[in-house]
């Protein structure tokens, strides 16, 4: 259980967190997504006690991070964003050190190390120096380190960054399996990842929470999908008639490609039309004697939600250009 109330963090004059509030019940896997500089890592650093908040409260399992930091840290496993490791140590020595410093001693330490080595698949590199390991194995060592004391809460800052697609799937499955009896907060840039691994998604931008819910709930916030068309016909006439046929929708025409007989159109609906949009498009083409080369319906994806929400945030706080995410493609739903 994690409770965050009105958390504010200032780095000098720059507000990294502008008063965020959320709650994570026990046993939930929550994914934090947002552009770089949105405040994901800052939130995690405050939850683990690495940084102090400028204002607001954060508590884990009901224990305030400022009032009783040692108790909080005992209950949390943390994988920092850069996955820092003592590269002069061997994997077994490193895990043994972390276990000891986390108070896992004696026979329990042996058992804990066997467990994380098995769960994280470190058997083949157990006796190797950390500096010799590939990025994928280092990431697993980082995860093993975070889990060695079997914490109730896991905070993982970009656990799959820099991994190849196979490793990403492995780590994602691992997180999924961990989440069955633990609270997990993870951050990522991969939207498919949160959809696949998390019960709930929190989108942050410019130090604010801009969306919070399951993947489906968030997608439902975008009212309707879009239609992609490729039509042979007089471009301007087609454009005009499409606009008439789909009232209220935005119809974009792609620039004419030299030598091409067809033109691409993009229809974005404000709300779903009563009749199937594809049917309307087909009838229109038939009635005018044009030819249709391609007709594709697109539904709103999490990516669209992300782009729309985080780009809006950027527009609202355009005074901070350094932190503004790219607005490119913001209208491309």
């Amino acid at each position: 259980m994690i409770t965050v109330q009105n958390l504010v963090k200032m780095y000098g004059q720059v507000a990294a967190l502008q008063g965020i509030t959320f709650e994570v019940p026990s046993g939930q896997v929550v994914g934090f997504v947002g552009p770089n500089g949105a405040g994901k890592s800052t939130t995690m650093k405050i939850l683990t006690g690495f940084l102090y908040a400028t204002n607001g409260k954060a508590a884990l399992e009901g224990i305030d991070v400022r009032e009783n930091p040692l108790e909080v840290r005992r209950r949390v496993g943390y994988l920092p964003e850069t996955n820092p490791l003592y590269t002069d140590m061997r994997v077994d020595d490193y895990l043994s050190f972390v276990a000891e410093v986390r108070g896992v001693k004696g026979a329990r330490r042996r058992a804990a190390m066997d467990r994380v080595v098995q769960v994280c698949g470190l058997g083949t590199v157990f006796k190797k120096g950390i500096s010799e390991l590939s990025k994928g194995f280092r990431q697993r060592v980082g995860l093993a380190q975070a889990m060695i004391h079997d914490p109730q809460i896991l905070i993982l800052d970009e656990p799959t960054s820099g991994l190849d697609p196979n490793q990403i799937v492995e780590i994602r499955d691992l997180i999924r399996s961990l989440g069955t009896n633990r609270t997990v907060v993870l951050s990522t840039h991969y939207l498919q990842e949160v959809e696949a691994a998390c019960d709930r998604i929190i989108i942050v931008a410019q130090g604010n929470i801009v969306a919070d819910g399951t993947g489906e709930e968030l997608c439902a916030r975008l009212p309707a999908g879009a239609l992609a068309l490729e039509i042979i016909g007089p471009p301007d006439t087609v454009h005009g008639k499409l606009k008439d046929a789909f009232t209220g929708a935005r119809v974009d025409m792609a620039p004419q490609v030299e030598g091409s007989r067809s033109t691409r159109f993009h229809v974005v609906f404000a709300s779903e039309p009563d009749t199937d949009a594809r049917e309307i498009a087909h009838d229109l083409v038939q009635a005018n004697g044009w030819k249709i080369l391609e007709l594709k319906r697109k539904s709103a994806s999490l990516e669209d939600v992300f782009r729309r929400l985080t780009a809006n945030g950027a527009a609202a706080v355009s005074a901070e250009p350094a932190m503004a995410p790219s607005q490119e493609g913001a209208i491309d739903v």
Binding site: G49, L51, V76, P80, L85, Y86, D88, M89, V98, V101
Partner: protein, 242 residues
């Protein structure tokens, strides 16, 4: 306490794995051996009895580079690697982390100094050695090393660049080393004695003569406590600043 010891063990292990520690250790023992034989074959020929004064007399200058070279990585490297984020999110007090690092480096230095015991043992075998000043010399050297180390550890916590940590520490220690001379040059005679008391070298010389004065020991304890406290402040302040 057991947290401190866990950190101490890791630091010690790290020293024994680090090439810098071996280079520094070899220099310490090598130059020490050179100084020692110079004493034995040149100065001792003229002296009536076997002594190590000349060796201990040069130790403060020697430590001035040696100790910062061993201390420079203690926090800087953690900050550079980012492992400080792990350390500070372990369920361990900041004070235990600082003490663990301090003791780890001090133990490594003690090992180096233990190796130099071969010099007085050789001297004792060759002639009549007065062990009083030798024991005083070693005790003073340990206290002096601890003082230099506390300063070096603090400086290391303020930067992620080991070389900057080394240079700043050496410069500050040089100023402290020449403090008596500087004071004599600038200050009225009435103040000189007081300023002399602030110099770690003056207290070392007093102990190395074989006279163990409690006030000298207290001086080193206060010196160490002051810089270890400053170290604590820099770590905590960074949690606010980010």
């Amino acid at each position: 306490m057991s947290d401190t010891w866990t950190i101490t063990k890791r630091e010690l292990r790290s020293y024994f794995l680090s090439p810098i520690a071996y280079v520094v250790g070899a220099l310490f023992l090598g130059i020490g051996a050179y100084m020692f034989f110079q004493i034995v074959f040149i100065e001792a020929g003229r002296a009536a009895e076997a002594r190590m004064d000349a060796y201990f007399g040069r130790l403060p200058m020697f430590f001035l580079v040696l100790v910062p070279a061993l201390a420079m990585r203690l926090w800087s490297e953690e900050r550079k690697l980012g492992t400080i984020e792990l350390l500070l999110t372990f369920p361990v007090r900041t004070g235990s982390l600082i003490m663990g690092k301090f003791l780890g480096a001090l133990l490594f230095l003690s090992v180096l100094m233990l190796l130099t015991l071969i010099y007085p043992i050789t001297l004792a075998a060759l002639g009549d050695l007065d062990w009083g000043p030798v024991i005083g010399g070693y005790l003073g050297a340990l206290l002096l090393a601890a003082a230099y180390l506390s300063l070096g550890l603090f400086v290391s916590s303020t930067t992620q660049d080991q070389i900057i940590a080394l240079i700043v520490s050496v410069v500050v220690l040089l100023l402290l080393y020449y403090l008596p001379g500087i004071a004599a040059f600038f200050l009225p005679p009435a103040l000189i004695d007081t300023v002399m008391l602030a110099s770690p070298v003056v207290h070392f010389q007093s102990i190395a003569r074989g006279v163990l004065d409690l006030s000298d020991v207290i001086y080193y304890v206060v010196f160490c406590a002051f810089f270890l406290f400053l170290n604590h402040v820099t770590i905590e302040v960074r949690k606010w600043a980010g």
